[in-house]
Symmetry: D2
Amino acid sequence: MAGNILGELFKVVSFGESHGPALGCVIDGCPAGLELSVEDIARELRRRRPAQGGASTTRSEADEPEILSGVFEGKTLGTPIAILVRNTDSHSADYDNLRNVYRPGHADFCWDAKYGIRDHRGGGRSSGRETLCRVAAGAVAHKLLTVYGIQIKAWTSALAGIDMPRPDSPDFDFDEIEQNPLRIPGRAAAETALKVIETLRTEGDSVGGIVSCLAQGVTPGLGEPVFGKLDARLAGAMLSLGAVKGVEFGAGFAAARLKGSENNDTPANKTNNAGGILGGISSGQDIIFNVAFKPTPSIAQPQKAFSKTGSEAVDCMRGVHTPSLQGGVVDLVISGRHDVCIAPRAVPVVEAMTALILADMVLMQRSARL
Amino acid sequence: MAGNILGELFKVVSFGESHGPALGCVIDGCPAGLELSVEDIARELRRRRPAQGGASTTRSEADEPEILSGVFEGKTLGTPIAILVRNTDSHSADYDNLRNVYRPGHADFCWDAKYGIRDHRGGGRSSGRETLCRVAAGAVAHKLLTVYGIQIKAWTSALAGIDMPRPDSPDFDFDEIEQNPLRIPGRAAAETALKVIETLRTEGDSVGGIVSCLAQGVTPGLGEPVFGKLDARLAGAMLSLGAVKGVEFGAGFAAARLKGSENNDTPANKTNNAGGILGGISSGQDIIFNVAFKPTPSIAQPQKAFSKTGSEAVDCMRGVHTPSLQGGVVDLVISGRHDVCIAPRAVPVVEAMTALILADMVLMQRSARL
Amino acid sequence: MAGNILGELFKVVSFGESHGPALGCVIDGCPAGLELSVEDIARELRRRRPAQGGASTTRSEADEPEILSGVFEGKTLGTPIAILVRNTDSHSADYDNLRNVYRPGHADFCWDAKYGIRDHRGGGRSSGRETLCRVAAGAVAHKLLTVYGIQIKAWTSALAGIDMPRPDSPDFDFDEIEQNPLRIPGRAAAETALKVIETLRTEGDSVGGIVSCLAQGVTPGLGEPVFGKLDARLAGAMLSLGAVKGVEFGAGFAAARLKGSENNDTPANKTNNAGGILGGISSGQDIIFNVAFKPTPSIAQPQKAFSKTGSEAVDCMRGVHTPSLQGGVVDLVISGRHDVCIAPRAVPVVEAMTALILADMVLMQRSARL
Amino acid sequence: MAGNILGELFKVVSFGESHGPALGCVIDGCPAGLELSVEDIARELRRRRPAQGGASTTRSEADEPEILSGVFEGKTLGTPIAILVRNTDSHSADYDNLRNVYRPGHADFCWDAKYGIRDHRGGGRSSGRETLCRVAAGAVAHKLLTVYGIQIKAWTSALAGIDMPRPDSPDFDFDEIEQNPLRIPGRAAAETALKVIETLRTEGDSVGGIVSCLAQGVTPGLGEPVFGKLDARLAGAMLSLGAVKGVEFGAGFAAARLKGSENNDTPANKTNNAGGILGGISSGQDIIFNVAFKPTPSIAQPQKAFSKTGSEAVDCMRGVHTPSLQGGVVDLVISGRHDVCIAPRAVPVVEAMTALILADMVLMQRSARL
């Protein structure tokens, strides 16, 4: 309700601030009898950690998960599965100068406007670190989906405006994705992109990217019309990631330029313009969608920013379009450790969110028929 | 849960099949004391009806709403508001030949795969006619938002690959939107587009389009982190419309090509790349997003289609990529009344869905602070 | 959320005021493929109607249901089932004198305090007539439970302090329940009770009673620990009936006086003190519980009542314990048609609520295990 | 959904097994800006601990809570509040002999029937120790209610069939409740009851009791008709406690024996037979209800019990009424530490559950009116 619970039957509760004592999740509704170990979760959390030499922050987070409940002698009990990760490498002092400043492109002002109080350290709960909770929960969902024969794979499909090899290209190499720090499905493309990233890093700038996600083995019939459509649920899950600005399924925005005779998937062509979903229900074809990530808002270059000056803060922010308003504007230089491009590191997060939605949907489908 | 209920506090229940006795909605959670008349709802339903001479079907639907409950002496009671619209102009016989055929680009096969039973007449519940329920409920949401000073306006921003005037263009004319049947914000552009539509109609084809939506006067602080983000909720609402294939907020997919120094909205520039939402919470700037509609799947041109042949149906459909599978393939010609482009007629539907989400969010915000 | 939706998977939405245009319900989540006819619903609604010569009101309600959606060619589609019943026999003028009076024992004052507006005609939405929506929905649930071999049977087990035959008594006669207007499981007891009812009717008074409910054939394992326990859900469902003041399972309040060695059901005794539920989960034994109904608050005898006098109303009511407060007190005589005892007529309502909860639980159980 | 989440706006998630690593809760929806300290929670947890010399187990649990998230500089952030309590004093070996035995009066069999797997140590998640999660969450709810001027007080009102002083009795002493280990509101009554308890302890037996609960200062208007009535929600909350077998409001079951002229609360009498709730909405009078607790099922006396013998277990249990079924019956002696009467220790748990429901209701009420 207040936004920290996802799902209908496979429910995930996320908690924790970036620089608080801990983050974690509780899963309520995982069926009993599923094999689950701490290592299943730790493995996914390691994939989320910053890579060496890539586009990511250099923050070193051990992120050791602990299963607090719901698992007994290696199997799920059907009771809530609580997973805890302690925060250990929090450099809270890095953020002291941000207590009263609203960083451009960040949620700082909006959180103050909403709650009237905010943990300014590392973005508090609006930090990308919160995705840790999702990846931990997603690891459990992945295990459940394995039983159903469903596999999910995501990769960086564009970065800084450079398109990477597509699945139907001979240069596309699935095995390469986890071999390079940018999670690009092709070695040559990855090497080119790494140079772009390094240039941006030296310039103190960041850049956006696109993550594509493929789900295979999805049985036809998943998705709940009309408001719980599979693509509606996936779209909501993707936009629940802070840096995401768009999502498209199958032909996506390109479909808006096509004729019906071109866009319809029929027995006479080999297309999957629908992206595996028709009327909000899986068709059995591959589910494919793209997720657009904006550039990391924290950049090393100096920026103008609004600062909090008592009760005027809200007026101040709303005045973005009012050039005459200068009172609360300060010069800001953001230090600390930040990813040049969020997309590569978001790859396991996109997979996790997809897994969470599909896990929910396979359970929902158990009630669709007599 | 089973997908026909939307919202947390301002809850909407949608019911009805395209060719059943009636469609309608129940709103549970509308605050007491709001002025509401049948005409408030009828007005929005008329906007949803097919326009004369435009891109739309020629089905003539009176769509007279009746308020069954929840309103007393012109004001809402705080109890459920049930709204009913009878189906009167159902040409069910038009669909007899579709009982065992899966129309390309439609949900027919997926519904069979899910439920094992399906009302094939006019798409049953997967029909675009279901959006009537949303528009009726949205009319109530609009009334509530008026109290908060929130205004929502959508238009056709692209059609058949042709971009229409943008809000920052001198050709953009708000008042023109409801003056032309394509809901294009500029007369010249509308006339050009009408010719494209007519050509497509004679060719028996259809085409996609993009609807843009603007919400103004939205107070900062709306949206529930982390899974109930405002953009996550809006994205889910848009993808819950059957023909939608993508959604993007603010700079959207273009943000994936930008640098952080370009994309950040700061006091030093006049941008709204965030589209009025940061960290999933409204910032007070205009909320702006684009919704991509695929071409109408029902086209007059002959197409190949899969037909239902007993238990093989599912294998059949999953074999879209298996050219050797020919058994269940038939030649299909779709008659009946269909829109050439869905986007113009979807404009009030996009507005309604936006209103429903914002109405929910303004009520949620009442609990955010002590 | 706002209280008019019940259930998790088998969801029921209730709408309608006593003297508005119509009442009805929408069921979202009934599995596809269930045989369902209008007569299935009409039959249960007739059971809810006032009996001739019994304890009930003489209001003559046809209560003809119409299925608006969700059923196609005699089977459920898996889509929302909307059921409508028009109000036809509303004597609204009977209630004109109650517009500004708070009837003792009624919800009148509380609704005003909550919403600031109220449909005073026949109690509006707080009327017992709302249970019609529950019985209509319950009829669908009964059909679903039949597939699972679950049978539910309720009866009047006490009335005016007189205990009726218990199931383990030789005087208990299941077949007699629907043969007498008080739904008492024994002819002699029924005849005695009818005389008590007639005396009370001539005195212009009413009286309370107890309904007992038995569910047989319930498979072990239903109920969702810890907050969704089967008895918790049933208790909530029973107390959601306006006149109910208590509920007890198995030995119930008597268990509070027993020793553990007496109360435990073991292989060595034949008891069912648990009432078929242990730890909130069905055990496979008969589920048995009692529901206490208060006397009908509408009585023909003259009473003192508070009347609404502008903004002082709330203070006025809160001052029930302040004898000096006399300003808003009026003499009230309630005319109209009212049951002497609600319990007999509530029998099918208790069954319906039980069916709704069990239907939800059998669907929930489909997700409990891998 | 799967039963471990309570509430609509003030949501509580409970997790943890009795002998697992930890128990705890997550609260999603507590408004921002509420003062909250670890000591607020620790204080309530100490009240839940077994008392010295009373009716309780001698298990020594430190139960030190840790706040993991949601609180910053002494105030709630509006984000999820996660609270953790480690299990330290788990004598798991005490339970080895219970792995395949279904203790009479316990949930053991039902959990196996539901999930096919069970943590048998200390009852796993069906243990009374789970109430710790509720008391921790309830402590936060109590803080929120203080802002609204609402106070909740419960006590042991009957034990072993002995009625304790009632609030309208001169012997009733509020201040005495927390002064004696049985939480009885009168010293003389407490001393008598203690002797009964000691006798039962030496006999290796247990006994039931009743807890009464009073909520004062509740503003009129709380409760959501029709399914979310205040008494419906409270009843569900009370029956969600494992040992509770019944609940009644105001006059309760006694109302079923009264006439309407006796039971109606009017300006002319001083009664509160409604228990402060009419039509499911608070009236402003004191809310009062009674909760019946069965005897502790774990008793030291030898008992017959069913044991698990492979797939026959379910048939075995269902055959409680089949004396010929002897195969799975064993002699059982339960060791370990158990309360003679649960009621006194349940007093703070009843208060906590009441606080959780009322906290939810005060937030819900914020959306009732324009």
